[in-house]
Symmetry: C2
Subunit: 249 residues, 2 copies
């Protein structure tokens, strides 16, 4: 039995890891009890122990199992994961995209509220610079997607919370990746781009003025409109009332 099985797939460990993770998730293995030994799994999947080993390494890394010598890879009590992933999301599913957008809106609006009360002078400078870059891009006919992303990153940074910053970067790349996937024919419409830019300015002004509630609503509104531009209607976490208008009754 020498040589690879067939060469029909070039990522054996990935496949094995997926299958095992699925079975663990469905409770096919008792938590606290060990999985079958590596050698046995190797036999069952028809691959070498090396592949099993690499697959198990992933599960360990995610905290799904924890392996100990002489006992095996024991299944750790549910919900002790060490990593948060969004792999199972389907880029073509509108529902998944909506859920993701919703989470992003929630987090980013909160970050803006924090940024309003915590930002430093350089934060505002950075954001202004990036907005100017977008303007410049629009004048030259380009879309300015890159400074746009930078602006949102600035917002995260200005929140003064590195954990939040980190998560927002993760989410944003995920969202933009999914959007790119979902619709290659991005909207090149300059009128829309100008609208977006207005929303950006409102956000910056709100943050700069130190009004966290206004900043929060500005981002919420921006996110909701952004989702709409993608053809998605999302519920605004702050409540569907007061959409768009601000706080003066």
């Amino acid at each position: 039995m020498a040589g690879p099985i067939k060469s029909d797939a070039h990522k054996l460990p990935e496949k094995v890891a997926r299958i095992l993770a699925g079975e663990i998730g469905q409770g096919r293995f008792v938590t606290g009890k060990p999985l079958p030994p590596e050698s046995e799994l190797a036999e069952r999947f028809g691959v070498s122990r090396t592949v099993i080993r690499e697959a198990l390494a992933r599960l360990k890394y995610d905290g799904l199992v924890e392996s100990r010598p002489r006992v095996g890879a024991i299944v750790v009590p549910a919900g002790q994961r060490r990593a948060f992933r969004l792999d199972s999301l389907d880029p073509k599913s509108g529902q998944d995209l909506r859920n993701l957008y919703e989470l992003r809106a929630l987090v980013e609006s909160g970050a803006a509220a924090l940024a309003a009360v915590r930002h430093g002078a350089k934060d505002i400078e950075r954001m202004e610079k990036h907005l100017a870059s977008i303007d410049q891009a629009l004048e030259t006919g380009r879309l300015g997607a890159s400074p746009d992303l930078a602006f949102h990153r600035d917002l995260a940074t200005a929140s003064g919370n590195p954990v939040l910053d980190d998560f927002m970067r993760f989410l944003n790349t995920k969202v933009s990746g999914m959007i790119r996937m979902a619709r290659r024919k991005s909207n090149q419409d300059p009128v829309l781009a100008a609208m977006v830019q207005d929303e950006h300015r409102e956000i910056l002004e709100a943050v700069g003025s130190g009004d966290s509630e206004r900043a929060r609503r500005a981002v919420l509104s921006h996110m909701q409109k952004g989702a709409l531009r993608q053809g998605l209607e999302i519920v605004i976490p702050g409540g569907p009332r007061d959409l768009g208008r601000h706080l003066e009754p």
Copy 2:
């Protein structure tokens, strides 16, 4: 040269992966260009190719590198990570814990706002049941930590957004894990526990009444007080104004 190097650490691949990830993060490798070949890395770290392989597998899994035959493990453009982790947080660092708490407060308050407008009848039932379990636990002298966690999970579920739900579960285990780490002598005070329970009831009532703004503030207040009970003062993302009081002016 047979046998492992010394047995001074039981997880070589983990260490190697950490080092490599750090070096990549600090830009010591050019993005788009391949890392040194596995054999070379093995030599450099003084371990076998097996270990390097397992370390690289982790980096690949997180999307930091992407390996192709004949060219090597190329460094993928920054910010394309496939997993969000909180491993680098120090459980003993008050700052880290505060940042984590802040993110949690932000997300969970948003989830509550969503739950207020989206919950179904069974969601409320579940939450009531878990609150009752806490009451029961308090009467028997126990702390009721487990139904407490369940109540927060219910909130996530009632938001109707599975992605949000998933993330909240991840965050909550992370937070509670860090708290357990940080202070073993948990507060067994029954008076405090009763206070917490009052806050829970306010949250449930707010969600049940469909008032998302009130739900959001109730959770925010609960989180802030919870942090205070842990000796942490956190900034409330919704803005420091209006703390605790509700919306009727």
